[in-house]
């Protein structure tokens, strides 16, 4: 007799905890052939706002961790993901209908991407900052700092795309509210379980499953969100309306891509750079 498997309840990831949607709603995640994968929490406006609260609360602590520590925590995430490698491969195969080789490529690339970004935590300031040769007796230094709370619409690539937008935001010290791929939400929930067990403080990353078209406008207009990453928005009208909403408090906007993105390619620093602020400090030199 075959053993009946124990199925998982798929929940949101907010403030380090796994709540259901306060709305009590769910939606079905299906596999590539339309088969049932699970009931996912269908996040609401209230869930999104709770996630922003959690992200704001986590910002002070996370942004003042030492860069070395942030790098270690993000690297630890890669370690935990490695332990779930087979599970991710299986989930990508089921969700996207990928063959084993392709699924493996994407999962390995996702884990390696997290490692790549982990290494930036204690380097990006040197690369993006400057000592400035001003024409007067002044010490003058420009350093990048995290912009704050970042709201992100994740690309539909269920794992590689997701980590490729989360990692640059958090290595720099931002905290994130991310709406996972509507079509392939299951790997995002697994990723949140990796995060919960990888020393990442609660609230640094908050993952919502649901409909970007429903939740993203609330995040775009939220006055305590500092930046909006539209990596996963493929409807130009929705992207434009989100940009308009973001202007209410002049959020930094990473625009929706105008052409399909090859997430396997080595990234540039653009995402990381788009989520930091340059601060310039002057002090007189004298005796």
């Amino acid at each position: 007799m075959t053993r009946l498997d124990v199925r998982k309840t798929h929940k949101l990831y907010i403030g380090g905890a796994f709540p259901r949607s306060e709305s009590g709603r769910t939606f079905e995640a299906v596999d590539a052939k339309g088969g049932f994968l699970g009931n996912m929490a269908l996040a609401s406006r209230k869930d999104a706002r709770d996630a922003v609260l959690a992200a704001r609360k986590a910002f002070g602590g996370w942004s003042t961790r030492t860069p070395y520590n942030r790098g270690q925590v993000v690297y630890r995430l890669a370690e935990v993901m490695e332990g779930r490698r087979d599970q991710f491969i299986e989930q990508l195969r089921a969700a996207e209908g990928l063959n084993d080789k392709k699924a493996t490529t994407y999962v390995d690339a996702a884990i390696d991407r997290v490692v790549w970004y982990a290494g930036w935590a204690d380097k990006y300031v040197q690369v993006l900052g400057n000592g400035n040769p001003v024409s007067g007796p002044f010490f003058n230094l420009s350093t990048p700092e995290p912009t704050g709370v970042v709201a992100t619409v994740a690309p539909s690539g269920p794992l590689l795309g997701l980590v490729s937008v989360i990692a640059p935001a958090i290595v720099t010290g931002n905290t994130v509210v991310v709406i996972a791929s509507e079509k392939y939400p299951v790997p995002a929930v697994t990723l949140s379980e990796c995060m919960a067990t990888s020393d990442l403080p609660g609230g640094v990353v908050n993952i919502l499953t649901g409909k970007p078209a429903e939740i993203a406008p609330w995040l775009a207009s939220h006055m305590d969100v500092n930046a909006l990453d539209l990596a996963g928005v493929d409807d130009p009208e929705l992207a434009a309306s989100l940009e308009v909403a973001a202007a209410d408090n002049l959020k930094r906007v990473l625009r929706a891509p105008s052409a399909p993105v090859d997430w396997l390619a080595e990234p540039t620093l653009a995402r990381l750079e788009g989520l930091v602020e340059t601060k310039t400090v002057w002090h007189p030199i004298g005796v």
Binding site: A270, T278, H283
Partner: protein, 480 residues
């Protein structure tokens, strides 16, 4: 402190030749616009200085076409080293004609000649000189081996530093290989129009720089023009938000330098005489028409009385009057409209219970003037502590602990600049880390340099001007 008597020492107007009317500078020459005209007046006397053209949407289109053509046919094909030499030429001409520009700036804007001559114009020449040197070194700017220009930049600048803002905008744009359509503010168009002559003297290829004049509608037509690739705006946060909305869904790259409500924080161990100089310079420089002005003074309680006494003494020596007089510290408010705004918010300060004190100074009979003013007893809830006044009005609050100072300083939707005064090095660095502002001046204030990035956090805008970061704002491959 006694106030020395000075004989009037006006700078001569004869160095500058103001035409009675100006067209639009498009494609290397002055052309008539299709719309009407407006007058630019001297805010210190209300004398009409010149008639200026109000560019229509058609005029804007012509200017953008000229810029596009110059980009496609000439400027994008020039090697960086040649672009550099044009910019060096402009830098040198601006230095040669510096006094002429300074006088015209003080006439049209109302700022003291001391400031236009010693701050604005030297920085203008230096800004061009600095970015000239970048033009053939773009591959070293950290944006890849061969970063590309964006194309045509539409630039809209404010009235508080007219020619300086022009330099901040045009120098990096041209160095990066873009061409430009620039609109100066409607109350201060004259130095930008004189700059057109400098472009001619430098033999800059026609269309690389185009200057169009007009008010908000002209600026809007420029920003929304579909063939503009880059929008750079300095001005109010309200207009900045409107621009952010108008470019939504386009591929236009945007830099916004907007309002501020900077905290200038004085700790009890600060060198108080220097701090008072910094407070005065922070809020009364350029009549407080400065987006990064230190308009919220936060004083540690234990030195509050001493700081206020010293501040009032120092303010009593400020000389308000003729902007062209070399002894003048405080010039004219730029426009009747701005004066009304300053008066309105100051009256709100009275009404909300803050205590007003103004420096005793004679107000001239004509023109727009506002005496340097402080408000004490201000709380964070007061509008004068929250809203940008953009005038010579300082709101004074107190604090007890560094944590309280940080909390109050950051309690604003703005984040352009901040000041910290203390002799304790570790406290400076701790404050600098915690203040959410793009520029932090420690034991100094209102310092600017082309090598130093300038720009805000939060609703003070995005992007940086100055330095390598300011160059990246005009190149592909960078987000800032």
């Amino acid at each position: 402190m006694t106030k020395f008597e000075y004989a009037p020492a006006p700078e001569s107007r004869s160095i500058v030749d103001i035409k009675s009317s100006y067209g639009l500078y498009i494609g290397g020459e002055f052309v008539d616009g299709k719309g009407g005209s407006f007058k630019s007046i001297s805010p210190s006397t209300e004398e009409v200085l010149a008639e200026v053209t109000e560019a229509t949407a058609d005029d804007v289109d012509l200017a953008v076409k000229a810029a596009r053509q110059a980009y496609d046919k000439v400027w994008s094909k020039l090697p960086g080293s040649e672009r550099a030499k044009y910019l060096y030429r402009i830098a040198r001409i601006m230095a040669e004609r510096s006094r002429e520009f300074a006088v015209l700036e003080s006439l049209d804007n109302g700022k003291p000649i001391k400031e236009s001559r010693d701050v604005d114009l030297p920085l203008v020449s230096q800004w061009f000189f600095y970015y000239a040197g970048w033009a053939d070194k773009l591959g070293h700017a950290g944006l890849g081996p061969d970063p590309k220009a964006l194309g045509v930049a539409g630039q809209v600048i404010p009235w508080n530093f007219p020619i300086m803002m022009l330099a901040w905008k045009i120098a990096p744009a041209l160095a990066a290989g873009n061409t430009v359509v620039l609109k100066p503010a409607e109350t201060t168009p004259l130095t930008a129009l004189l700059f057109a002559e400098v472009c001619q003297q430098a033999e800059l290829p026609p269309g690389v720089v185009n200057i169009i004049t007009g008010a908000g509608a002209t600026g809007q037509a420029l920003v929304e023009h579909p063939d503009v690739d880059k929008v750079a705006f300095t001005g109010s946060t309200a207009v900045g938000k409107a621009i952010a909305r108008s470019v939504a869904g386009t591929s236009k790259k945007v830099t916004l330098e907007l309002g501020g409500k900077a905290a200038n924080i004085v700790f009890d161990d600060a060198p108080l005489d220097q701090a008072v100089e910094g407070i005065v310079g922070g809020i009364f420089f350029n009549q407080g028409h400065v987006c990064c002005a230190g308009s919220r003074l936060l004083v540690q309680e234990s030195v509050y009385d001493e700081v206020i006494d010293k501040l009032k003494q120092r303010m009593s020596t400020l000389r308000l009057g003729d902007p062209l007089d070399k002894n003048t510290d405080i010039g004219a408010i730029n426009s009747a409209e701005q004066l009304a705004r300053i008066k309105e918010l100051s009256d709100v300060g009275d009404a909300e219970g803050a205590e007003r004190w103004s420096a005793p100074c004679e107000i001239p009979d004509s023109g727009f003037w506002f005496a340097p003013t402080i408000f004490t007893g201000v709380t964070q809830a007061h509008r004068i502590a929250r809203e940008e006044i953009f005038g010579p009005v300082l709101s004074i609050l107190t604090f007890r602990t560094p944590a309280e100072a940080v909390e109050k300083a950051n309690n604003t939707p703005y984040g352009l600049s901040a000041g910290v005064w203390t002799e304790k090095g570790s406290r400076i660095l701790s404050m600098a880390n915690q203040l959410r502002a793009g520029v932090v001046w420690a034991n100094t204030f209102n310092k600017f340099d082309p090598a130093s990035p300038f720009g805000g956090y939060k609703e003070s805008g995005y992007g940086r001007e100055g330095g390598r970061h300011g160059l990246a704002a005009y190149l592909q491959g960078a987000s800032a």
